[in-house]
Each structure stands twice: as structure tokens, then as C-alpha cells.
């Protein structure tokens, strides 16, 4: 970890100004990812702008029936918020499937979007990594890539976005509110994160110095028919090998509206709107789900140790859609991890 200076902002504009005046600076929220990256020398900011005194920790109802999640509300406070539990139980489940209680108590909503992609090689300075050192090469391709992506990968990078929360958000499609040196703007959630392409060092489409201030969830929460299914190598505190966020709106057994997003497969939370469109108007049957699942992974590409993810993703999609259609999923109360 390199030496750095620290300042604490109390207003959004001050934070943006402070960041702009320090090259190689970063915003610091809960720090659950940034501090790790600094300890591993993957991130070497020389200045940190502390955000936790900014007035962005509220969760409040919006006039259009939606819900605004403050960027500084913790993941835990968000998951346990009454409105989230009753109206967006998919988000509740996804958040609680991630990390550990200690991490969720510290991690913020803005920070959850900002966490870097995960890959063994990105975290190990002894190996080349295009994301860490553009142009140095991708060690995961042809290497050990159990955790890596199968969709939307490039020859430069096959890392995956590690968030659970963001998979549910991809399905719920909020807008991301940001403030920056050039003022405020909103970004559709699906446009927030990037695929690696030939610039894997960029995880998202924020302009330099922009700060997430909140997330506006639309009114529709798929609270009746939803599922967040996470498959991993142990029952808690492990990144998803595959996760699926599914939301259905049913009329009888016919699917009126659908949302489907995957985690553990790509550089970004992977929402598949074509698959969603395929579901609409169809009967909620296993046959439908299988066809949709096959479509989602039609262009998937394995890289050796993660080949299994293609088949696993298919099965997980079918299971999650079935669970959503059955409509017996609930917001988690205590433990949701370990139903044997």
C-alpha cells in the first residue's frame, strides 16, 4: 500500500471538486473493495476523498412509485429496509447472498456498483493482466479461469463482475444518478457497467470524477414472482459461479413481463432482454424456460476450467425461472444460505 492523503467531504459538490483537484485520487465509501485493492497494490491512489459524511444514506419513496436508494446507504440497511423487503424482495435476497454480514454492514450501494471485476490474475501482481496493466496480456485465457466469464468476453479480458446486488439491479433496471465536474446526469443501469472489449481497464461508463449519488428503482418490483439463485463453491462468503435474478409478471400461467439477469458470467451484470422478450406471452412452463436458457448461453464460450459454467448457467436459469413462476420465494429474514 502506498502513502496517500485523505480528505472528508461534507457536500457532493465539494467531493467532486476535491477529487478533480487531485490526480490519481479515488472516492472512498465503505472501502470493502478499494482498501483490499490498495493492500494488494492493485490500486495505488495518492489521495482519497472520504464520502461517508455526504447526505446520501437515505432510502426514500419517489413520486412515481419507485424507490430511491442513497449511494451511501449500506448494503445491509438496504436489504433490511421495509420497502425493499416488501416491494423488491429480489434485491433483498441478492444483497444477502453476497459477502458476509460484516462486509454488508460496511459496503455502500454506490460502492457495490463500483467494485472491480474479479479474477485471480487481476489480484496478483506477479502475473500479466490487461485490466491492471493495459497491453500486458491476459493470463486467465489459457490459465486457471474457474471464476471467469463465458459471455461478452474479449481477447483482452475474461474477468467477471462479482456483485450479487448488481445482478438483481440489472433485472430491476433502476437509473443510476451521478454528479460530476460537468453536472448531474442519470445512466440506465444496463449502460452503467461495460464489457471489456479492448479497454478492460474500464469497468464502467462513468466520466472522470463522476460520483454515484443514488439509484432510482422503478415502481415495478416483481415482488410476487421472483428468484435470486446463487451457485458457488461453499454456502456463504463465496463469489457466484453462476447467479440468476429472475422476475416474472404472470397472468394465469402466461408470462406478461419478465426480467432475467445473470452474475458470474460476464464483465458486467448480464441482463438478456432478448431472452426476456422470448418469455413474454409464453406459458410459464419448463419447456419455455429451457428454450430461453438455451438462448441465453447460445453464444457462451468456455475457457477451460470454466467450461462447466455454460451448462450450469442453463440449468440455473431454468431453476430460477421455475422458482419465480411458483411464486413461493420470500424476502430472507435470517439465513437464506443453507437449505440443504
Amino acid at each position: 500500500m502506498n502513502p496517500f492523503t485523505y480528505s472528508r467531504a461534507t457536500a457532493v459538490a465539494d467531493a467532486v471538486r476535491d477529487k478533480a483537484s487531485h490526480p490519481d485520487s479515488e472516492y472512498l465509501g465503505g472501502g470493502t473493495n478499494l482498501i483490499d485493492l490498495m493492500k494488494e497494490n492493485v490500486a495505488r491512489p495518492t489521495h482519497l476523498v472520504g464520502l461517508n459524511k455526504l447526505p446520501l444514506a437515505d432510502i426514500e419513496a419517489l413520486p412515481d412509485g419507485g424507490l430511491r436508494l442513497g449511494a451511501l446507504a449500506t448494503n445491509a440497511d438496504t436489504a433490511w429496509h421495509d420497502e425493499v423487503k416488501s416491494r423488491y424482495p429480489l434485491l433483498n435476497q441478492a444483497i444477502l447472498a453476497g459477502a458476509s454480514p460484516q462486509l454488508r454492514n460496511a459496503a455502500t450501494n454506490g460502492g457495490n456498483l463500483m467494485q472491480r471485476t474479479r479474477c485471480y490474475y487481476f489480484y496478483d501482481l506477479a502475473t500479466p493482466c490487461n485490466k491492471r496493466e493495459p497491453g500486458s496480456g491476459c493470463s486467465a485465457i489459457g490459465g486457471y479461469n474457474r471464476v471467469c466469464g463465458i459471455l461478452g468476453t474479449s481477447e483482452s479480458c475474461i474477468a467477471t463482475h462479482p456483485s450479487d446486488m448488481c445482478v438483481a439491479l440489472a433485472a430491476l433496471a433502476p437509473t443510476v444518478r451521478v454528479s460530476g465536474p460537468n453536472g448531474d446526469r442519470t445512466i440506465a443501469f444496463d449502460d452503467f457497467h461495460r464489457l471489456p472489449g479492448d479497454q478492460p481497464e474500464k469497468d464502467n461508463n462513468l466520466e472522470p470524477g463522476e460520483l454515484i449519488t443514488g439509484l432510482d428503482l422503478p415502481a415495478k418490483g416483481f415482488e410476487k414472482n421472483f428468484s435470486y439463485l446463487k451457485l458457488r463453491d461453499r454456502s456463504s462468503y463465496a463469489f457466484a459461479l453462476i447467479s440468476v435474478a429472475a422476475g416474472l409478471e404472470l397472468e394465469g400461467n402466461t408470462i406478461k413481463d419478465a426480467r432475467l439477469a445473470l452474475g458470474g458470467v460476464a464483465h458486467k451484470p448480464w441482463r438478456d432482454q432478448e431472452a426476456e422478450n422470448m418469455l413474454k406471452g409464453q406459458p410459464a412452463t419448463e419447456d419455455t424456460f429451457r428454450r430461453v436458457a438455451a438462448k441465453v448461453v447460445a453464444d457462451a464460450k468456455g475457457h477451460g476450467s470454466n467450461d462447466f459454467k455454460i451448462e450450469l448457467a442453463k440449468r440455473a436459469i431454468v431453476r430460477a425461472l421455475k422458482q419465480a413462476a411458483e411464486g413461493n420465494q420470500h424476502a430472507a429474514d435470517v439465513f437464506l444460505n443453507s437449505n440443504p
Binding site: G142, L231, S236, R319, P340
Partner: protein, 744 residues
């Protein structure tokens, strides 16, 4: 009954309050004056040479005290023998910062010492080291043909016994046969506490090293030989350990480097490794096993072959007993066991909980399951039909062996009789597949030479000490129990001291021998003290014991009394006060009774029953129930013993389902070197675990009748889980851990 009978009772940890209130001090927590901080720089390459170290660049940072590397390390001991510790394998031990050669990835190449930890860490991150890389070989698969039979260089290693009968012919002729290869990956110990050494500079070349180790004596002799120190000038202390599991058996390079820096700088130094660096030294080796079994029509074993190959470093022949157990766990007349190791460009493996047996029991016990199915027999029934009454490896009877009782009691507790044999034939209420599997093992009951000292003061407070260790297993507690019961004192009046080279000599804490070895020394020492007290008691005015012999009296409930008439008693404290002595002392050193033991095979045994549920579509496995039945002689403390076995079972589940250090052979480097990606079980993975200790009396192993439980609880756990997965799914996974992808 006496109020001071503690042996066998579920006594709570005497060190528990110190641990939960934070007053227990660990190696990295000792506070000494004027301390400098070290940080290790590790090699990114697996093989080659250091061509340049730009030390001057970081020395220019204010507060950086020194950069140690092979370029400036002083001339130390020349010969390999000076670097050999008590459990060093054959070969040439690794010497950190010795020369420019890189022998393994993450090899320490420099030690930065600075005024603060943060500065040392930063300096380490910017130190430029140039390397000339050479081709490395880290894949065991590619070295199959280069395996060789190692010599008996390492303490405790037994080359496999000579073949018996004609296993090849018997296999050909038998009606039921199986052969298969089994694999498990490398594992790193990863105790929660990082390796750390705080070296206190006491002036004039004298040091005290507070070191994370399972053997302070071992570290002391290692350091004194290398640095030419007198024993009195090199005290080594370890009062508490945040887990060891074998990682602290050999002195680690962190201890060597911290002492080197302290002696060179004539200053106190602390060095703590990082979690990533916890993957830079010993590990349980990646092991390939080939088993070839045959059964007769009556379900008896006709032939058994077990061959193993595992990795070692280029510089040492690490060995462990992988296959020998297969020659003694079951009755079989035609047996051939083979064992080889192969050299790779990595650090030497290191004993990890039940070294060899944990690995070997995976091969043997999954093969036994396969054999049972091939012979159409219930896997437990198959084991019962092949019960070994004698140890055929050495042709001796067991000093005691209650494994049959383990089978029966464990099966009853588990409900094994409700098992249906066909794979995929059992389901739970949710419709998930259910599988029941069995596995087990055998481990040495060993006693080593150990010494202890006891002293009692006039106020009736007893202090007993020995330079053994406490890595969380309960040493403080069981030794206090033995001492308290032997002298009839309340356990609150006993203080046990350990982990200090100033105390009486004791072996490394490992091999499951601490309870037997140090326990025997503590008992013997307290008996010697009892005799002294008795003599004083007889001399008291109007002593009711004045005509008694020592055999006639007992120490109980704070009294010394006639066995035949408890009313004829004196209070222990009164004896001490009447004597006018401020303090009474005794010491003793106890060796195993070889004459008594020689005619027997001394072993502990266990059997594990495991239940899994499997989601057949998604490949997820949960271990819902485990029963581990153990015959390990006398259990000194049911509470700490149970805890220790619970830990073993949890680790066994990890070995079965998730735990593996994965190397990228292109870089010759372990890639999942952190707790996010190296998976050990979490609470949510753990469900019901039952531990049964089957009663087993044994006055041959040692006077206490103790066999030790450190390792035996882990045996067969991984195999039982893998067998349960087969029973649930019909899929035979022979490559552990059984992760999702192997069940799709």
C-alpha cells in the same frame, strides 16, 4: 467420590477467559521497546536467478532501516545439518536470502526493515528486483515417470512394508475386482493467525523470540545452530497459537529472517507474513493414488494394492505415510504397497493434520466402497467382514482396538440400517437425492520423551510446566486436569505453563502425542511431588498417616487421606504450612515403556458416517449429518476432545468439497492464495456433527491409557462424503474436492 476428579470430565478450557477477553498474547502482539518492522519481498517467478536488487532506491526512503538480501546477509552456518530441524526431511533445507537462486514462486528474496509496518510494506511494494527466469516444472502429472522411492530421512516416516502373498495373482483369480486412480489437490494449512515473530533484543547478542511455532525447542535449536548462539541467549516463547495444523512444526523463514535482522541491527524486530505468503511454504502435497482391490465370493478381501505418488521440492525429500495404513486396517493376505515422490519447483510440502493418513484414507476408503459395490455388499458389512484382528504389517496384536464397537455404535447412532444400497434410491422430503457413505482410518498412538516440573507453595497453589505447546487443542486444560487430579487439588489452584524454552524439555506439539507424552510427564512429576508431600505429612504432629505407606494414601478433595478410611486425613495446605517449607518442587522426565510396548501395534481407529443431499440438476452438495466414532484410548477431556474432532470433521468436509490450492503451471504459482478464493467451510456449510468416543482401555500405550486424538478424527471424513455422493447420485468422483462441475 472426590471433588478433584477431573480426568475424563468435560472441563472447560482454563485459558478460555484469557482468549475471549484478549489478554492471551500471540506472537505478533508482544510489545517491546524500540521495535523495527520487517516485511518480506517474495519472488514472482518459480525458477531462475536474481540478477539485481535495487536496494538503494528504498533505502533512500526516510525510515527504511535496512534491506536484507543475499547480497548482504552475513556468513552463517555452512552445513546443511545446522539448518535441519527436528522434523526436517532428507535433503538440503531451504535457506532464505542465501544466494541468488530462485527455487520456488513466492520465495523470500528480500527483507525490508523499517521504523513502521506501513513503511516496510510500502518499501516492499516498490523494491525493484530483476530476475533471469528459467524453465520450471510444477506439474505432478508430467512427472509421473520420474517418481522415486525416498529414503527414510524424516522422523516418523516408515517406508511401506514388504509385499505379502501374491496380490497380482490373487487379483486375477478373484470374482470381484476394482482398480482406480484417486487424486486430491494441494492444501495449505492456513491457520487464522499469520506466521509472525517478535524478536526482543536483550543486548549483548541475547534475544527472546516470540514465535508462532508448535515447538519452541525445535525453533531454539534451529536458531542457535544457524546463528551460533548459546541456548541461554536465545529464548523462544509461544504461549498461544491461533491454530497450527502442522504448519508450525518446522521453523518458518519468518522466524529466521526476524532473528537475522534483530542480530544484525542489534534491535528488536517484528515480522509478520501476509495471507498470500501463508501459501509460500509447506502444504499437504497434491497426491495421486492407484488402488487395485479384489474380493472373494464371501466378501473377504482377496488382494489389495495401494500405490501413491506425491510432490516434493527440488531440495528436500518430503515424506509421509500414505499407503502403510492400507496394510493394517483390513485383513488381507495378498498386499502390495508402493510409495514414491517426485521433485518439482516448489517449496517442500509439510505435515498437515493426519499427514499421509488423511490422503491415504481417501484412496483406500473410496476404493473399499467401490469394492463393496462390486461385491454386492453394504460398505459397512464389507468392512466388518474384513476386520483386522492383528496388524499384519508388523504381525503383532493391537494393544487395544475397539474399531468394531465404533462400527456398531456409530452405525446405530447414524441409523445406517435404514440405508438402501442402490445409488439414487434415497430422497428427502424436498425430493433431493440423499446419500449415506462410510469411511474411516487408523493412526499411530505415539509417546515421546517429555519432561515436566511441578512446584507447590504453602498456600496450596500448584504450578506445573513443560515446554510443550497449545495450538488451541486444549493442552493447558488437560495438563491442569491431570495435575489437579494427581494431587487432589481444585483445578483453580493449578497453573500450567508451556511454550517457553526455559521450561523442561518437551517434544514438538504434533503427531497426536502431546496428551500421551506431556500428560505422562505431568502425571509422573506430580506423583513425585506427592511423595514429597506425603513424607512431610507423616512427620506432622499427631499425623493420622504416620504409619501409612505411600501406596495406602490418596490425594483427593484437597486432602491426603487413607484409601481405606477417608476420615484419616490431613488437609494438604496444612501439611505444607506445618512443614515450614515455602515451596516444594519435583521434576521428572518420562520415556515410553518400550519393553511393555514392543510386542504390540499401538493405534487409534475411527469410522465416519456421512449424509449428503444433492441437487441433481445443479450439482450442489450439502453434508447434513456426520457421525464420527473414535476409539482412541482414554479421553482426558470430553469437551475439548469433542471440539477437536468437530474441527477435524469440518476440515474433512472442506477436503471433500472445496479445499484446494490451484497452481497455474505457466507461472508455477498458486493462484487462489487468499481466503476469498481458497475455500474452507463456513458455518453455513456445517450441519449436525456427532462425535462418539468408544470406551477403550489400554494400559500398554502409556500409564494414562491415552492415544491422542489430534489426527484420527479427520480420517475417512472426505472419503465418507465422496462415498455418500456416489450413493446419492451414482457418480463416482475420484478427483477431490467434489465441486459442482464434477456432478453436472
Amino acid at each position: 467420590m472426590s471433588t478433584t476428579n477431573y480426568i475424563g470430565k468435560p472441563t472447560s478450557r482454563v485459558d478460555g477467559p484469557a482468549k475471549v477477553t484478549g489478554t492471551a498474547t500471540y506472537a505478533a502482539e508482544y510489545s517491546v521497546a524500540n521495535m523495527a518492522y520487517g516485511y518480506v519481498v517474495s519472488s514472482p517467478i518459480a525458477k531462475g536467478k536474481i540478477t539485481k536488487i535495487h536496494a538503494e532506491e528504498v533505502l533512500a526512503l526516510p525510515g527504511v532501516v535496512q534491506v536484507f538480501s543475499h547480497e548482504n546477509v552475513p556468513s552463517l552456518a555452512w552445513f546443511d545439518r545446522s539448518y535441519k530441524d527436528d522434523v526436517a526431511p532428507g535433503g538440503s533445507p531451504f535457506r532464505a536470502l542465501h544466494d541468488a537462486d530462485i527455487k520456488f514462486s513466492q520465495q523470500p528474496v528480500a527483507l525490508i526493515v523499517a521504523e513502521t509496518f506501513e513503511l516496510a510494506r510500502y518499501a516492499a511494494s516498490v523494491l525493484r528486483v530483476e530476475y533471469q527466469q528459467e524453465d520450471h516444472e510444477t506439474s505432478l502429472e508430467t512427472q509421473r515417470a520420474k517418481g522415486y522411492e525416498p529414503g527414510a530421512g524424516k522422523t516418523g516416516f516408515q517406508p511401506p512394508p514388504a509385499p505379502r502373498g501374491n496380490p497380482d495373482k490373487a487379483w486375477e483369480e478373484a470374482p470381484h475386482r476394482m482398480e482406480a486412480e484417486y487424486v486430491h489437490g494441494a492444501q495449505h494449512h492456513n491457520p487464522m493467525e499469520l506466521f509472525s515473530t517478535t524478536v526482543e533484543w536483550r543486548g549483548e547478542g541475547k534475544i527472546t523470540a516470540y514465535d508462532k511455532t508448535q515447538g519452541v525447542m525445535n525453533v531454539q535449536q534451529y536458531l542457535t545452530k544457524i546463528f551460533g548462539l548459546k541456548k541461554d541467549d536465545c529464548r523462544v516463547v509461544n504461549e498461544y497459537m491461533g491454530g497450527g495444523f502442522g504448519s508450525g512444526l518446522r521453523p518458518q523463514y519468518s522466524a529466521y529472517l526476524a532473528v537475522l535482522a534483530a542480530l544484525e541491527l542489534k534491535r528488536s524486530v517484528r515480522l509478520t507474513l501476509t495471507r498470500e505468503q501463508m501459501f509460500s511454504f509447506g502444504h499437504r502435497p497434491h497426491t495421486l493414488q492407484y488402488l487395485k482391490l479384489a474380493a472373494n465370493a464371501d466378501g473377504t478381501l482377496a488382494a489389495l494394492q495401494h500405490h501413491a505418488l506425491h510432490e516434493t521440492s527440488q531440495f528436500e525429500d518430503y515424506t509421509e505415510n500414505v499407503v502403510n495404513w492400507s496394510g493394517m486396517l483390513y485383513q488381507c493376505e495378498n498386499v502390495k504397497l508402493g510409495y514414491q515422490i517426485a521433485k518439482l519447483d516448489m517449496y517442500t510440502p509439510l505435515d498437515m493434520r493426519a499427514p499421509g493418513a488423511a490422503s491415504g484414507s481417501i484412496g483406500l476408503e473410496i476404493a473399499m466402497d467401490e469394492m463393496a459395490y462390486a461385491a454386492g455388499l453394504d460398505p459397512l458389512e464389507f468392512r466388518l467382514r474384513n476386520y483386522a484382528e492383528r496388524d499384519q504389517n508388523v504381525d503383532k496384536p493391537f494393544s487395544s482396538k475397539k474399531l468394531r464397537e465404533c462400527y456398531h455404535q456409530g452405525a446405530a447412532k447414524f441409523g445406517w440400517d435404514k440405508r438402501t444400497q442402490a445409488p439414487g434410491s434415497m430422497r428427502n422430503a424436498d425430493g433431493k437425492l440423499v446419500g449415506w457413505g462410510v469411511g474411516g482410518g487408523v493412526w499411530d498412538a505415539t509417546q515421546q520423551k517429555a519432561a515436566a516440573k511441578a512446584s507447590i507453595t504453602a498456600d496450596g497453589k500448584l504450578t506445573v510446566s513443560s515446554a510443550t505447546g497449545e495450538n488451541g487443542t486444549g493442552t493447558y486444560t488437560i495438563m491442569s486436569q491431570i495435575a489437579a487430579e494427581t494431587l487432589g487439588l481444585p483445578i483453580e489452584a493449578v497453573t500450567f505453563k508451556l511454550g517457553d524454552t526455559d521450561l523442561p524439555e518437551s517434544p514438538l506439539q504434533g503427531g497426536s502425542w502431546t496428551a500421551a507424552s506431556v500428560g505422562s510427564a505431568v502425571q509422573s512429576t506430580c506423583e513425585a511431588l506427592a511423595e514429597k508431600i506425603f513424607k512431610l505429612a507423616r512427620k506432622m504432629d499427631d499425623s493420622p498417616l504416620r504409619d501409612a505407606k505411600f501406596e495406602d494414601v490418596e490425594f483427593a478433595s484437597g486432602q491426603l487421606r487413607l484409601r481405606a478410611d477417608h476420615s484419616q486425613a490431613v488437609v494438604l495446605r496444612d501439611v505444607l504450612q506445618a512443614s515450614g517449607e515455602a515451596k516444594l518442587e519435583a521434576d521428572s522426565s518420562v520415556m515410553p515403556n518400550m519393553v511393555k510396548q514392543n510386542g504390540y501395534s499401538l493405534h487409534s481407529h475411527n469410522v465416519v458416517f456421512a449424509e449428503v443431499t444433492v441437487d441433481e440438476d445443479l450439482g450442489t452438495v450439502h453434508v447434513t449429518r456426520v457421525v464420527n466414532a473414535i476409539a482412541a484410548g482414554r479421553i482426558l477431556n470430553l469437551k475439548t476432545a469433542r471440539s477437536q474432532v468437530l474441527g477435524s470433521v469440518v476440515w474433512g468436509l472442506g477436503m471433500a468439497l472445496m479445499e484446494e490450492t490451484v497452481m497455474d503451471h505457466k507461472f508455477g504459482r498458486y493462484m487462489n492464495h487468499n481466503f476469498a478464493e481458497y475455500h474452507v467451510p463456513v458455518n453455513a456449510d456445517i450441519h449436525d456433527i456427532d462425535v462418539l468416543f468408544v470406551e477403550e482401555e489400554d494400559d500398554i500405550v502409556n500409564p494414562l491409557g491415552v492415544k491422542g486424538i489430534g489426527e484420527v478424527g479427520m480420517l475417512g471424513v472426505a472419503a465418507a462424503v465422496a462415498n455418500a455422493v456416489f450413493h446419492a447420485t451414482g457418480k463416482r468422483v475420484r478427483d477431490l474436492p467434489v465441486m459442482i462441475d464434477k456432478l453436472l
